[in-house]
């Protein structure tokens, strides 16, 4: 085959598409021009990804508006906006301010937990739950290089009942984060890692139960961690301890 004929396979090869590329790889070992062109295509893919990723991020207002639309909540009316002023009294205003603070905190916590659950459920329900599929931490961790503005350690799981399934890049409160998927006795556990302040760590207790799921979160060395699973809280906590120990190394 000529270089021109091999060129038809360059994009599929650079895109990791399924197929038999043994012949092409053999050709690339001996043809500098084609090898250079394939390398260029891989570089262009990476550069495009870097240029397009998170070029536009949604505002917090917009996120809230969509969440309210989905929940079917009515938008604030002009009358309700004026309502606090009508109370007149300073004491009432103070009460409103305090309540608003508590509500905001409650709402922020509720949104954080809801988003963690959403992302975990969507992942385990997906036909392609992770983008890097590997049980080897030395394959999964390097996959995030260039995709995240931070790095993290993964524990050695050889002598533990947990199994690493892979990972993918996700966005949490508009910030890039790593989602790692683990398995324990047919239960799947999502571990989210983001840079602080990513609000992965919700206010209040560090271990909670929501809709039958166990969630645990903590911060360590400038990173926020959260684990979500339908497994019991003891299993979630044990994985958390393994991650904490790995982060200290």
């Amino acid at each position: 085959m000529t270089c021109e004929q091999w060129r038809d396979q360059f994009d599929a090869y650079a895109d990791n598409a399924p197929g038999d590329f043994a012949g092409l790889e053999e050709h690339l070992r001996t043809c500098h021009a084609c090898a250079s062109e394939v390398l260029g295509r891989i570089q262009l893919k990476r550069a495009t990804r870097a240029a397009a990723a998170s070029r536009f991020t949604p505002s917090a207002d917009f996120r809230l508006r969509i969440q309210n639309s989905i929940a079917g909540k009515p938008k604030p009316t002009r009358f309700s906006a004026w309502l606090p002023a009508l109370t007149g009294a300073l004491a009432a205003l103070l009460l409103v301010a305090v309540s608003a603070g508590l509500w905001t905190r409650h709402e922020s916590r509720r949104q954080t937990i809801a988003q963690l659950l959403d992302m975990h459920v969507a992942t385990v329900a997906s036909a392609n739950p992770v983008d890097v599929v590997s049980t080897d931490r030395h394959t999964v961790k390097p996959w995030f290089q260039g995709k995240l503005p931070f790095t993290f350690n993964l524990p050695e799981l050889a002598n533990s009942p947990y199994k690493l399934l892979g990972g993918k890049l996700v966005y949490f409160h508009d910030q890039p984060a790593a989602q790692l998927l683990f398995e324990l006795r047919k239960h799947e556990l999502s571990v989210f890692i983001a840079q602080q302040p990513a609000r992965l760590v919700y206010s209040g207790a560090s271990e909670i139960h929501a809709n039958g799921f166990s969630i645990e979160s903590w911060t360590q060395d400038g990173l926020s961690y959260a684990i979500v699973s339908d497994s019991n809280s003891g299993d979630v906590h044990e994985l958390g301890e393994l991650l904490k120990a790995a982060a200290r190394q």
């Binding site: 060129r7 495009t48 397009a52 988003q115 997906s126």
Partner: protein
């Protein structure tokens, strides 16, 4: 809300207008909620919701302007890609901003297929499901889109 930030980013790349993108994302979630019963469990949720967003865009005022060019373009015979500048040399010199400008300059059907493949890292099969086109068309459209992208980058590089 699964895929929220990524859908918004993709919507902005399609519409090139943040207000239009917000409307597009909102309508996508509303349609997804209303039509969730049509989603087949076990199939690809990401391809499903991106398809809703993309179809909603194509039926919008902005999107309608680009649909006419799509079908005719896919019928074209794919010319062999010619290489004028080794991309590895070219990319060493271009800035991310230049790549963003080149992406914005592409026709929307080229831009979207590149974004789905390179940014969203969808497989050809997922892209086919999202755009409702066969895998062969995905490959030929990608090839054309990348050729156009390389030409734009080469031209911009030559001007500087």
């Amino acid at each position: 809300m699964p895929h929220f930030a990524k859908l918004y980013n993709f919507a902005c790349w399609l519409t090139r207008d943040t207000h239009a993108a917000e409307d597009l994302v909102q309508e996508t979630y509303m349609k997804a909620l209303r039509g969730f019963s049509s989603f087949q469990q076990g199939t690809n949720f990401r391809a499903w919701i991106y398809r809703i967003l993309r179809n909603t865009f194509l039926t919008s005022q902005t999107g309608l302007k680009v649909t006419a060019a799509l079908d005719a373009e896919d019928e074209m015979v794919l010319e062999p890609a010619t290489q004028t500048t080794p991309e590895s040399i070219l990319l060493a010199r271009v800035e991310l901003e230049t790549i963003q400008q080149a992406l914005e300059s592409l026709p929307v059907h080229h831009r979207e297929v590149i974004l789905l493949c390179d940014l969203e890292e969808m497989s050809y099969q997922e892209i086919g499901q999202t755009l409702s086109i066969p895998i062969g068309t995905v490959m030929s459209r990608l090839s054309r889109a990348r050729k156009a992208m390389r030409s734009l980058l080469t031209a911009r590089e030559a001007r500087t």
